[in-house]
C-alpha cells in the first residue's frame, strides 16, 4: 500500500467494476478480489521507482505477529529479551483490515449482506497489497476478536487471508473498540488501519478510541457500510421491527410508509455525525452503500489517496 501514491490515472473514477450481486456469482473470493482490483486500477500504472532505504531507527519489543527475521539476536544475547529492529523509510507498509462480523452485518435482503460486501473489499485490499508486496493483516471481530492474521508478505499468507475472510459469518454484538485496542497493541510502526463496519449501535466511546489509534501515528480509514434498505426504508406493509443482535429486545410495530421521511433524515444525520467525528479526528471516512460496485469504492479510495499524497509531495517540494 505504500506504493499507492505512486499510482497515476488516465481515467476518471466511475462505475467500472461489477456490482456486488454479479461478484457474488464469481467462483472464489480471490477471483472476486482480482476482478475488483482490476476494475479499480484500470487505466492506472505503477511508479517504477521503489524505495530501498534500510537505515536502522530503533528497537521494539517483540510481539506476536512480528517478523522473526527482524529479531536482533545480539540484543537477545545481551539482555535476554527479544527485540525487533526497525528502520527509517521502510517502504513496506503494514495494513490491518478490521472486519466487523457482528450480527447486524449479516443484513442484506436484496443483494449481498454488509458482511459479504466487506469481505469483498477486504479481499480486494489484500490482493492489491499483495501485488505491491505490502503486508496485510486481518482482524475479524464481533464483541470478541474471532480471528487474527498478522500482516505478512510471505507466500501463502494471502491464501490464509482469503480463507479467513471466507470463513467469516455474522454473529454477536459489535465490539470495534476491542479490535482497535488490539491493533494499537500490535502495530509497531505507522500502519494503515482499514475498518469495515456498519457502526450500528456503536458506543459513544468509539470516537475517542479511533482518535487514540490515530494519535499513535496510524493512518485510519473507516469504511461505513450500510444496506440501501437501511437508508431508504422501502417497505409498505405494517411490520413488526425487531433488533437482530443478541440481547437487543427493542421492538416497534409501525407502518414504514409513515416513518420513511423521518427515517431518511435519521439515517442521513447518523452518517453526517460519523463523518464529522472522523473529520475532527483526522480519520478518513468512506461511506459505501452495499449496492455500489466494490471496485468503485476501492477506486475512489485510491484516487483520493493519490490526490492526497500528490498534494503532500508538491507541498514538500
Amino acid at each position: 500500500m505504500a506504493d499507492a501514491h505512486r499510482l497515476s490515472h488516465d481515467v476518471a473514477p466511475g462505475k467500472l467494476g461489477l456490482d456486488p450481486a454479479a461478484l457474488a456469482r464469481l467462483a472464489s473470493l480471490p477471483l472476486r478480489a482480482r476482478v475488483i482490483v482490476q476494475g479499480a486500477t484500470a487505466g492506472m500504472h505503477h511508479n517504477p521507482h521503489a524505495g530501498s532505504s534500510i537505515e536502522f531507527a530503533e528497537h521494539k519489543e517483540y510481539a506476536p505477529g512480528d517478523d522473526i527475521r527482524h529479531i536482533d539476536w545480539k540484543a537477545v544475547a545481551r539482555v535476554g529479551r527479544y527485540y525487533i529492529k526497525r528502520f527509517e523509510d521502510d517502504n513496506e507498509m503494514r495494513t490491518y483490515l478490521l472486519l466487523d462480523a457482528s450480527a447486524s452485518m449479516g443484513f442484506g435482503r436484496k443483494g449481498v449482506s454488509k458482511l459479504t460486501y466487506a469481505t469483498y473489499l477486504c479481499a480486494a485490499f489484500g490482493h492489491l497489497l499483495g501485488l505491491q508486496g505490502d503486508a496485510a493483516g486481518l482482524l475479524v471481530f464481533d464483541q470478541e476478536i474471532r480471528r487474527t492474521l498478522p500482516p505478512r508478505t510471505r507466500p501463502g499468507h494471502m491464501r490464509d487471508l482469503f480463507a479467513a475472510l471466507e470463513a467469516a459469518f455474522p454473529a454477536g454484538r459489535t465490539g470495534l473498540e476491542r479490535a482497535l485496542s488490539q491493533v494499537a497493541e500490535v502495530a509497531d510502526k505507522k500502519s494503515l488501519v482499514l475498518i469495515f463496519s456498519d457502526l450500528l449501535d456503536a458506543p459513544a466511546t468509539l470516537a475517542s478510541r479511533l482518535r487514540q489509534v490515530r494519535s499513535h501515528g496510524h493512518d485510519v480509514v473507516l469504511f461505513h457500510l450500510l444496506d440501501p434498505e437501511e437508508i431508504e426504508l422501502p417497505y409498505d406493509d405494517l411490520l413488526h421491527f425487531e433488533g437482530v443482535e443478541p440481547g437487543d429486545e427493542r421492538r416497534l410495530l409501525a407502518d414504514p410508509a409513515e416513518l420513511r421521511a423521518a427515517f431518511r433524515k435519521e439515517s442521513l444525520a447518523f452518517r453526517a455525525r460519523w463523518q464529522g467525528t472522523c473529520r475532527e479526528g483526522r480519520i478518513e471516512y468512506r461511506f459505501a452503500s452495499t449496492d455500489r460496485p466494490p471496485s468503485d469504492v476501492l477506486r475512489e479510495f485510491l484516487f483520493a489517496r493519490q490526490r492526497h499524497f500528490t498534494g503532500v509531495a508538491g507541498a514538500a517540494r
Binding site: E230, Y235, L238, F241, E242, L259, A262, E266
Partner: protein, 741 residues
C-alpha cells in the same frame, strides 16, 4: 327533540361500527416480524412522528367508526318532530290565505340587531308559501285597520304570491283582526280546493282582537297561527297622550301641555328622559318615574309664539319600539266659536232645562265656545251672521220665518245639531227642515221605562235600556277621533229615541253612532255647504242618561267644532294613523300639496262638486272640503295651496299631526282561550305547530364530510410541497425527447 326512524330494524347495521376497531386489531396482529439492524434510527424516526401518527390513527379510527355507523343510520331514515316557526301545513293542495299582522307593534325589533317582527313574519310566510303543494291557491291579506289587500284573489301562481309578500310592508296602523279574518275567510270561501286554511302571522298583541269572537272569527275556515315573537315578553313605555289647552292665567298666549307616559313593563322605570319640543326646538327636558304598569302625567306651561301651525312634541328616550316614544299635537287654539242654543223646553230648575247639559259642556272648554241660549220664537229675529253653529234642543214647530232662516243658514255653510224630545213633532220638523235633514224623522220608539219615571199604579216597563253598538264607534270619523275613551259613550243608556224614515239619498249621509237595535243614534248629513247632525234622542236626561256620561262633554265639543267648520282647531288637527283629514280648498286654489313627515308630497285636486251639493255659485268664496287619507306615517303633515295663477301659499293653519294609536303600545298578549286556533291547540294550550324534520340528509352530508375527512387523513401529505419547477422536472422533463433520465 325526539328521534324517530322510518326503518328502525335497519339500525341493526349499527353493529358495523365496531368493524374498523376490529380490523385495526386484526391488522396489528397480522403484522409480520421483521429483523432490522437499524433499530436505533427507526426508533429515532418514530419519536419524531409518534404524536402525529397517534393522532392520525385515532382520528382515522373515529372517522371510520362514524362512517360505518352513519350509513345504517341514514338508511334507517331518522326524523324528529320539532317546533316549527311556521304553522303546520298539509302536503296536499289547499286554499291558503296568508294573513300577516302589519300593525304598528310589528315594526318593533325583539332584540338588538334583530330584524323587525314584520320582516320575521314575512320570511316565515315566504317559507310557508314555498312549502305548499304546487296546485295550492294562495292569497295575501294584511291585518291593519283600513289597509288594502295585496293579493285579494286566490292564485295558483306561486311567484305572484311571493312577489306580493316581498313587496308588502309594515304599517303604523292599528290591527283589526275582526275585519281581516272576515276578509280572509271570504277569500278562502272562493277557493277551489277542499282543504282551506288561514295562516296568520302575528305577535299576538291583544290590541286588535277586542271585537273578535274566536269561535266565529273566520267562519268555518281553520286558522293556523304563528307567533312571530316566539312568546317573548315585551316591555314598553310610551307617550300615550299629549294635550294642550290655553292657560290665560299664565299670560297672553300661555299654553299648558300635558304628556301622559305609560309604562307597560313589570318593573318601574325611573329617570326616563322626556323632552318637549315646540316647532323642532327643545323647550323643556325632564325625567319621569313611572310605576310598573302605571301612567304618569307631565305638565309644562309655555308661551305660544305668534302665528299658526305650531306643533309640540313629547319625546321619550328610545326603547325597542321607538314609534310610540314620541307624540305630537297641534297648538293652534281656536277661540270664540259662537253657538246658538235654541231651547225647546226651558225649565226653571236648571238641571232640568233642555240645554243645561249642552251649555255646561261648551262652557267647560274655557274661551273656545261662546254659547247663547235662545227661544224658538226669537230665531227669526236673531241675525245669524256671527253664529257658527245652531243647536235645536227639543224644539217643536219653529216660526216659518225662523225655519227658512235656519235652512238658509245651514245651506250657506252653517252647522246644525238637532236633539229631539217630547216636543218634537216629526211631521212638522220634516216639513220645515226637510231640505237640510239628512233623513226624515219617523215615530219615536220607547226601549224601556226611564228609571224613576213611572207613576204609581203604572205598569213598569222592565225591558233593558238601549245601548250604543260598540262596533259602531268609527274612530276614524272626525267626530270620534279625539274622544279619549269609547267607554264614555257605550256605557250610556237610551230609554227612548226617534226612528228615522228610509231615504234614497244616502250618499251625503253617514251614521256616526248606532243603537244595539241597529237604529241610527247619531247621523251626519251635508246640506249645501253646511252640515247637520241629528241625535235621535234628547240632549237632556229625559230620554237618555247620555248627558251625565263622560263621553257627552267631548262629544258635544267635537260636534260643535265639526259643525262650526273649525278644521284647524287643535283637536281636529291631531289624528291617528289612518284617519281621514278633510282639508278646505278655497275657490282660488287649484290644488293642495301635502308634504308627509318623510318628505313625500301628495297632491289633492278637488273634484267638481255634484249638482245641488257644494255648488259653487258665482262669487262664492266658501271653501270646499277635500278628504286626505294617506295618513300612514306618524309625524307632521304640512299643507300648501297652489292657486290658479301658479302661486304657492303655505297654509300653516292647516298643518296637522298624525300619531300612533296608543293601543298599539300595550304589549299585553292575547289570552290563549281567545285565539281562533284555541280548539286545535288542545286543552293544555300546548303549541300545535310542529313539523317533521328529516335527518337523513343531514346524516348524508355528515357522511360525505366523513368520507372526505377519511380520504384526507389517509393521504400522506409531503412535508414540503414541490416547487413548480420541481413538478415540471418530475412530470414533464422525463418525457421530453432527448431528456436525460
Amino acid at each position: 327533540m325526539n328521534l324517530h326512524f322510518l326503518g328502525p330494524s335497519l339500525l341493526v347495521g349499527l353493529l358495523a361500527a365496531v368493524l374498523p376497531t376490529w380490523l385495526h386489531r386484526i391488522g396489528r396482529k397480522r403484522a409480520r416480524p421483521f429483523p432490522f439492524p437499524a433499530m436505533e434510527l427507526l426508533l429515532g424516526a418514530d419519536r419524531q412522528v409518534a404524536a402525529r401518527r397517534r393522532l392520525r390513527e385515532v382520528l382515522l379510527l373515529v372517522t371510520r367508526t362514524l362512517l360505518a355507523a352513519a350509513i345504517p343510520l341514514a338508511i334507517a331514515r331518522p326524523f324528529a318532530w320539532v317546533r316549527s316557526e311556521i304553522p303546520q301545513t298539509s302536503a296536499l293542495p289547499q286554499t291558503a290565505v296568508v294573513l300577516i299582522d302589519d300593525s304598528a307593534s310589528m315594526s318593533r325589533s325583539p332584540g338588538l340587531a334583530q330584524s323587525p317582527l314584520f320582516e320575521r313574519a314575512r320570511t316565515q310566510a315566504l317559507r310557508l308559501v314555498s312549502s305548499f303543494a304546487p296546485e295550492s291557491e294562495v292569497a295575501l291579506v294584511l291585518a291593519s285597520e283600513g289597509t288594502t289587500t295585496p293579493l285579494a284573489e286566490l292564485s295558483n301562481d306561486r311567484n305572484r304570491a311571493i312577489a306580493a309578500l316581498s313587496t308588502a310592508h309594515g304599517s303604523f296602523r292599528r290591527a283589526d283582526f275582526r275585519s281581516a279574518l272576515a276578509r280572509a275567510a271570504q277569500i278562502a270561501d272562493t277557493g277551489g280546493q277542499r282543504d282551506r286554511h288561514i295562516y296568520l302571522f302575528t305577535d299576538l298583541q291583544r290590541s286588535g282582537w277586542e271585537e273578535v269572537d274566536p269561535t266565529t272569527a273566520a267562519r268555518d275556515v281553520p286558522v293556523n297561527m304563528a307567533d312571530v315573537s316566539n312568546g317573548a315578553l315585551w316591555e314598553n313605555h310610551a307617550v300615550v297622550d299629549l294635550v294642550t289647552e290655553p292657560t290665560p292665567d299664565s299670560g297672553v298666549g300661555g299654553v299648558a301641555t300635558t304628556a301622559e307616559i305609560a309604562n307597560y313593563a313589570a318593573t318601574p322605570v325611573q329617570g326616563l328622559g322626556l323632552t318637549f319640543r315646540l316647532d323642532d326646538e327643545d323647550i323643556a327636558r325632564t325625567t319621569v318615574d313611572v310605576p310598573a304598569g302605571g301612567r304618569v302625567r307631565k305638565r309644562i306651561l309655555h308661551p305660544l309664539p305668534p302665528g299658526r301651525g305650531h306643533v309640540i312634541q313629547a319625546m321619550l328616550d328610545k326603547d325597542r319600539f321607538p314609534a310610540d316614544d314620541s307624540r305630537l299635537a297641534r297648538l293652534d287654539v281656536a277661540r270664540g266659536i259662537k253657538v246658538l242654543l235654541v231651547n225647546g223646553d226651558p225649565r226653571t230648575v236648571r238641571n232640568e232645562d233642555e240645554v243645561f247639559f249642552v251649555e255646561a259642556a261648551l262652557r267647560a272648554s274655557g274661551s273656545l265656545f261662546t254659547p247663547e241660549i235662545l227661544a224658538p220664537d226669537d230665531l227669526a229675529r236673531r241675525p245669524l251672521g256671527d253664529v257658527n253653529a245652531v243647536v235645536l234642543a227639543n224644539v217643536g214647530a219653529l216660526p216659518e220665518e225662523g225655519a227658512r232662516k235656519l235652512v238658509a243658514f245651514v245651506q250657506g255653510g252653517g252647522g246644525l245639531l238637532i236633539g229631539v224630545g217630547d216636543h218634537v213633532d216629526p211631521e212638522v220638523t220634516n216639513r220645515q227642515l226637510g231640505a237640510i235633514l239628512p233623513q226624515p224623522f219617523g215615530a219615536p220608539r220607547t226601549a224601556s221605562a226611564q228609571p224613576g219615571a213611572g207613576r204609581e199604579g203604572e205598569t213598569i216597563d222592565e225591558r233593558p235600556a238601549e245601548r250604543l253598538l260598540p262596533i259602531s264607534l268609527d274612530r276614524r270619523h272626525a267626530l270620534l277621533t279625539n274622544l279619549p275613551d269609547g267607554e264614555g259613550l257605550t256605557s250610556s243608556r237610551f230609554f227612548r229615541y226617534l226612528l228615522l224614515q228610509p231615504t234614497a239619498e244616502g250618499a251625503e249621509r253617514a251614521v256616526v253612532l248606532r243603537y244595539e237595535s241597529g237604529a241610527p243614534a247619531l247621523i251626519e248629513g251635508e246640506a249645501g255647504r253646511g252640515r247637520v247632525l241629528v241625535l235621535t234622542t234628547s240632549l237632556d236626561r229625559e230620554w237618555t242618561d247620555l248627558p251625565i256620561r263622560p263621553g257627552f262633554l267631548p262629544l258635544m265639543q267635537e260636534a260643535m267644532r265639526y259643525l262650526a267648520g273649525a278644521p284647524s282647531s287643535d283637536a281636529r288637527a291631531s289624528l291617528l294613523v289612518g284617519q281621514r283629514r278633510s282639508l278646505p280648498v278655497t275657490a282660488d286654489e287649484k290644488r293642495l300639496e301635502i308634504r308627509s313627515p318623510s318628505g313625500q308630497v301628495y297632491v289633492l285636486t278637488p273634484d267638481a262638486p255634484p249638482p245641488g251639493k257644494h255648488a259653487v255659485r258665482e262669487g262664492d268664496r266658501t271653501p270646499r272640503l277635500v278628504p286626505f287619507d294617506r295618513t300612514d306615517e306618524p309625524g307632521t303633515y304640512r299643507v300648501r295651496g297652489v292657486h290658479e295663477d301658479g302661486s304657492v301659499v303655505e297654509r300653516p293653519g292647516d298643518t296637522f299631526v298624525v300619531n300612533l294609536d296608543p293601543r298599539e303600545s300595550d304589549p299585553a298578549r292575547l289570552a290563549p282561550d281567545k285565539r281562533p286556533d284555541a280548539a286545535s291547540r288542545g286543552p293544555g294550550g300546548a303549541p300545535g305547530a310542529v313539523r317533521r324534520f328529516e335527518l337523513w340528509h343531514v346524516i348524508g352530508a355528515i357522511l360525505v364530510g366523513l368520507l372526505v375527512a377519511e380520504s384526507l387523513l389517509s393521504v400522506r401529505w409531503p412535508r414540503r410541497w414541490p416547487r413548480p419547477t420541481e413538478l415540471w422536472l418530475k412530470l414533464v422533463a422525463p418525457r421530453a425527447p432527448g431528456g436525460s433520465p
